[in-house]
């Protein structure tokens, strides 16, 4: 559906009646967005930036006080002391800062760095599987894609029930499998399957499984990209004696690398902002041992439970900086591994 970039023909001069060079009409049409941008994006951004240097309970305007970079300092202290604690170093500060920021960040990074690659791999494999000429393949495609579309509160509730440690499907199945293994002495007597969402170690993996379930969106993009790979390249590779795996690695992957790039960036940005699952599963509390205290959940609590507007704003900007950093990292590295059409054969 790409339009022609060249003008169709230098034909008769187009009547430009009623339009000034300044383009008032253009601005008029674009005004909804312009107004929205100014009022709901630019000004709020400035306000948020200013607010991050203040302390405010969000109540009376008279109560705003300027505290400078104190919020950022507290978060930074928390992160550095948290890192120190984890790496076994001494914590000497009398005031170790906000350690919860570190915990929230750690949880979010852990989740993102597992969920995104796993999700991409699974969706790529699914796309490869779906990229076959089989009858009824579209039904399967629908089934794999549906969770991504319908995912929301209802599906989170369903997954919570699946993961329920006592009565859920997963643990019931695990216990059924464990019985004979215990009988054979392979598993110790009294072995218990993990507590999933209510256990410190297993709550994030459970969420990662949930997120992989919703990988349908990325899968579609991969599917389209796969279908755009020219057949001759495969022919050439086969002639050179490459097996299926080698074909995949040397032909498919480079050809679809723009799609990988896109999904990676979108995945990182989106996963970093995980909120709904954490809130619904833990009721806002961050779960057992704060294992599900993700960054945006922590931000939400600070803003709407504790009403610490200034601190929460600072947290939001820190999040922005981190996401930007990761995105730039991926973008910069992309020149090394992403091939666009017409750049390389």
């Amino acid at each position: 559906m790409s339009g022609s970039r060249q003008p169709s023909s230098p034909g008769p001069a187009r009547p430009r009646s009623g339009r000034t060079r300044w383009g008032a009409v253009g601005y008029l049409f674009a005004s909804p967005w312009l107004v929205g941008f100014l009022a709901l994006t630019l000004l709020p951004m400035i306000a948020s930036m200013l607010l991050s240097f203040c302390q405010w309970k969000g109540l009376d305007l008279s109560e705003i006080e300027w505290v400078g970079a104190e919020h950022y300092a507290e978060a930074a202290r928390g992160i550095s002391n948290g890192l120190r604690t984890d790496f076994g170093a001494e914590v000497t500060d009398k005031d170790p800062g906000d350690l919860d920021v570190y915990i929230a960040l750690k949880n979010t990074v852990y989740y993102t760095f597992l969920a995104v690659p796993l999700g991409l791999t699974v969706s790529l494999l699914l796309a490869v599987l779906l990229n076959q000429k089989l009858k009824g393949i579209s039904i399967f495609r629908t089934i794999f894609y549906m969770p991504h579309v319908i995912g929301g509160v209802a599906t989170i509730m369903m997954w919570m029930w699946v993961f329920n440690p006592d009565f859920g499907l997963l643990n019931s199945a695990l216990r059924a499998i464990a019985q004979p293994l215990i009988g054979m002495g392979l598993l110790e007597h009294g072995w218990e399957p993990p507590g999933w969402l209510y256990s410190e170690q297993w709550s994030k993996p459970a969420l990662i499984v949930m997120s992989v379930w919703g990988a349908g969106g990325a899968m579609l993009i991969f599917l389209a990209a796969l279908q755009n790979v020219p057949e001759q390249l495969y022919e050439a590779a086969r002639i050179d004696g490459a097996g299926r795996v080698a074909q995949f690695w040397h032909v498919t992957v480079p050809q679809i690398s723009p799609a990988i790039f896109f999904n990676l960036v979108m995945g990182i940005i989106g996963t970093f902002q995980v909120f709904n699952q954490a809130y619904i599963i833990t009721g806002g509390s961050g779960g057992q041992g704060k294992s599900l205290l993700f960054y945006v959940l922590y931000l939400y609590n600070k803003a709407f439970t504790d009403f610490e507007m200034g601190y929460a704003s600072a947290l939001a900007w820190i999040l922005f900086a981190i996401i930007l950093a990761f995105t730039l990292l991926v973008v910069k590295s992309s020149s090394a591994w992403v091939y666009y059409e017409g750049e390389r054969s």
Partner: protein, 286 residues
């Protein structure tokens, strides 16, 4: 069986290969569907049986009355109606607004257009949390908290950078001849937009409508922050209410969840290809 250079999937495989593929696909499909199937079993059990171990997989005598009870115990249909109001309000705004703005970027010259377009693209990368608090404060001072306005009005102001981008790409592709002809007849810009471009943009409109509809249907954080009065709750918040402080009616919750999913699944089945198109428009060339 050589294929042309254009999009053709791999060559055909023999029967055993096909069988393997089908079985893998079937197994994967089951694993994708099982949360829903599992919830369905829970939704037809009486409460005591839900908390039974080992759980009954095939419910021998299903209690369909759970569905009736779930829908009446809480004002489920009110939630549904609320969701519709929200979704229709927001989606209509997004479609109208983003097509208008997309048209201006595609076809209307104005000073600084390239600059504003770059700004538009940049806003796509902005995480919403930065704006969360200022938005809340704005709406607080406007007196809009605990109304639907914060959830509908912003979508009329531009409709979101992504959809604007979609429309712009599409409008750019509409042949100039159509435009020329109408212009010679003396059409105004708005008439051009309304009579020529919009009708020709049906695929994009469909895609945007479907994507917007589903996104707003699932919306959770916005209603959570702005709505306090349970009568105004959309389904996403209403489902929460089946968990009371002292007890949890899991079977009713599952029944309600399945009913809540129903409209989405139906829309999805009928409008699949629009959704797919939308995803594809975004991804392949980055």
């Amino acid at each position: 069986m050589t294929d042309s250079a254009a999009q053709r999937p791999r060559k055909k495989r023999g029967l055993p290969g096909k069988a393997v593929s089908y079985s893998i696909l079937a197994a994967l499909s089951l694993s994708f569907l099982f949360p829903i199937l599992w919830s369905m079993t829970a939704s037809v059990k009486p409460l005591k049986k839900v908390y039974e171990f080992p759980p009954e997989l095939w419910v021998s005598d299903p209690q369909w009355s759970n569905y009736g009870e779930a829908l009446s115990k809480l004002p489920f249909f009110a939630f549904l109606a609320n969701t519709l109001v929200l979704v229709v309000g927001a989606t209509a705004g997004q479609v109208l607004s983003s097509s208008l703005v997309g048209y201006s970027f595609a076809r209307l010259p104005f000073r600084g257009k390239t600059f504003w377009f770059m700004v538009l693209l940049a806003t796509m990368m902005l995480p919403g949390q930065i704006l969360l608090i200022p938005h809340f404060l704005t709406y607080k001072y406007l007196g809009w908290v605990n109304t639907y306005k914060p959830l509908i009005v912003p979508h009329w102001l531009g409709g979101g950078a992504f959809f604007i981008f979609l429309f712009r790409q599409f409008f750019k592709g509409i042949p100039r001849e159509l435009e020329e002809a109408a212009r010679i007849d003396g059409a105004t810009e708005f008439q051009l937009y309304w009579r020529i471009f919009l009708p020709n943009a049906k695929p994009v409109i469909a895609t945007v409508t479907v994507m917007s509809f589903i996104a707003h249907w699932k919306e959770f954080m916005g209603p959570l922050i702005y709505l306090s009065d349970f009568e105004k709750y959309p389904i996403s918040l209403g489902l929460h209410m089946y968990n009371s402080l002292e007890g949890s009616w899991v079977n009713l919750l599952m029944a309600a969840s399945i009913v809540a999913l129903g409209p989405l699944v139906i829309i999805f089945f009928f409008a699949q290809r629009y959704f797919v198109k939308g995803m594809l428009l975004t991804g392949t060339k980055g």
